[in-house]
């Protein structure tokens, strides 16, 4: 049996939530938006060659794992990562960390974690949570997507940590081993914002960043021509996109509100009113994303006529708004 005092807080996104919780436990009090922003986690990517249940991958943030590594390297935090070939060994290693009084981050599959509501369970293998204790066969977990700490039994946790397939966790355990005493936040923020501006405005690929949003708008318009033959498939594509944008873990509007919150906090730290203005612009962008989700849902439900052009037009409004936000950021930094 172990008993570690752990300050559980619910966050919007699991990876930034688990990371900020581990940092806070180890003495660096930093908000979730700050972790997300400094890690350069925001993006937009349309990846038709990566399929999720037959649907193209649409990502609003960097791939799993990048946030933790990105934040750590930018701020000079050293992280220890442990993966295991053998599941029993992986569980023993977890117990050893907890016996030593060390809460650790875990990667696990959403589907096999027993405390997830039935309708939220999908085969997403890169969920993040913190383990901070166990008693007999019951593990105490601080899962950032839940309001309160949760429990899992040994077998279920083992299964969730050692599931095979895309983004297989291989029992990943992670924790910080050294954190700089006075990290240079302003410099890290400036570099992070520059990085995000470059990615969103200057990636020379039509499927990434602001041009990626325009690319998807074109795809949506083209779907109009296939409406007769492929209506049900088209509807699945629309629903899939909105799900990626709004489902648990984004804080609303595909992380745009989370990023706006980061910019506002950064504006205060850097005493930079231009960042505050950019934050407001991002909030507007987020509102446009929400409007896109609302239109889509109404069309899927038949409360509004299915109009591919209207959705494409809305995506162009978003693209323009997002481009304006990033240009503002470019000037602010």
């Amino acid at each position: 049996m172990t008993a570690i005092e752990f300050d559980h807080r619910q966050t919007a996104h699991c990876e930034s939530g688990a990371m900020s919780a581990l940092l806070r436990h180890n003495g660096l009090d930093i908000s979730e938006p700050m972790v997300f922003g400094i890690a350069n986690a925001l993006t937009f990517a349309y990846l038709p060659f990566v399929k999720i249940s037959g649907m193209p991958m649409i990502a609003y943030r960097m791939p799993p794992g990048r946030l933790i590594k990105g934040f750590a390297s930018r701020l000079g935090v050293t992280m220890q990562f442990e993966r295991f070939r053998d599941a029993e060994q992986g569980m023993l290693a977890l117990n050893r960390h907890l016996d030593q009084g060390r809460p650790v981050g875990l990667q696990a599959s959403v589907y096999w974690l027993p405390y997830f509501p039935q309708d939220m369970r999908f085969h997403f293998n890169a969920h993040n949570l913190v383990a901070y204790g166990y008693e007999d066969e019951t593990y105490r977990l601080s899962d950032p997507t839940f309001e309160h700490p949760v429990n899992s039994d040994y077998q279920a946790l083992k299964k969730a940590r050692f599931v095979k397939g895309m983004l297989a966790p291989k029992g990943l355990i992670y924790y910080p081993t050294s954190i700089p005493e006075n990290p240079d936040l302003p410099q890290a923020i400036r570099k992070a914002i520059k990085g995000s501006v470059n990615m969103m405005l200057r990636t020379p690929l039509p499927i990434i960043g602001v041009s990626g949003i325009r690319y998807v708008a074109k795809k949506f318009r083209a779907m109009g021509a296939t409406h007769e033959q492929k209506e049900s498939h088209n509807k699945l594509v629309i629903g899939h996109m909105v799900r990626m944008q709004e489902e648990i873990g984004t804080g609303g509007a595909g992380f745009r509100f989370l990023y706006a919150s980061f910019l506002q906090e950064a504006a205060g730290l850097l005493d930079c009113p231009k960042l505050e203005a950019a934050s407001q612009q991002f909030t507007d962008t987020g509102d446009e994303w929400r409007r896109f989700a609302l239109f889509s849902a109404k069309m899927l439900k038949g409360r509004m006529a299915l109009d591919y052009d209207k959705l494409a037009d809305q995506l162009l409004v978003i693209a323009d708004s997002e481009a304006a936000s990033f240009r503002q950021l470019q000037q602010a930094i």
């Binding site: 619910q10 966050t11 919007a12 938006p33 399929k51 249940s53 037959g54 589907y111 096999w112 509501p117 039935q118 309708d119 939220m120 369970r121 999908f122 085969h123 997507t145 839940f146 309001e147 299964k159 599931v163 095979k164 397939g165 895309m166 509807k235 699945l236 629903g239 899939h240 909105v242 799900r243 709004e246 489902e247 648990i248 804080g251 609303g252 509007a253 509100f257 989370l258 706006a260 919150s261 506002q264 906090e265 934050s279 909030t283 987020g286 509102d287 929400r290 989700a293 609302l294 889509s296 849902a297 109404k298 899927l300 439900k301």
Partner: protein, 134 residues
């Protein structure tokens, strides 16, 4: 989004849980507010759940008509598709398709069956049978 605009649509899928959204308070400062769900989000979630349910029901009928093995039903019942099942068992998709033929699945070697048991989290007996209709 402003704090007083946060949707509270009591999504059934949340099972009473709430999730935080980043929103502006009345002074224009960012904060978080819990949401009990949003209708727009529930529409797209229901769509995904309904697809799994339809695939499940379709597979059940084909199992009853002896057109496919119970394996196919259990795959959809676990919210997987051929790609996910292939990745989590290490079989090729064509192998799984072959295993989904009733005569072949009923004679599958215990070793191969064990890989399905592991991936789907079921016993051999459960895997070979169909659950009662509820």
């Amino acid at each position: 989004m402003k704090q007083d605009e946060v949707p509270q649509d009591q999504s059934a899928a949340f099972e009473g849980q709430k999730k935080p959204l980043y929103v502006l308070d009345k002074d224009g400062h960012y904060t978080t507010e819990l949401s009990s769900g949003w209708d727009a989000e529930e529409v797209v979630l229901d769509q995904a759940i309904a697809l799994f349910a339809a695939q499940c029901e379709d597979a059940r009928q084909r199992v009853e008509q002896k057109l496919c093995a119970s394996l196919e039903y259990h795959m959809y019942q676990r919210r997987m598709d051929l790609t996910v099942l292939a990745q989590s068992t290490g079989f090729f998709k064509w192998q799984i398709k072959r295993h989904m033929k009733p005569q072949i699945f009923s004679h599958l070697s215990p070793k191969k069956l064990a890989r399905y048991q592991e991936a789907l989290g079921m016993s051999a007996a459960e895997l070979q049978a169909m659950p009662d209709k509820d």
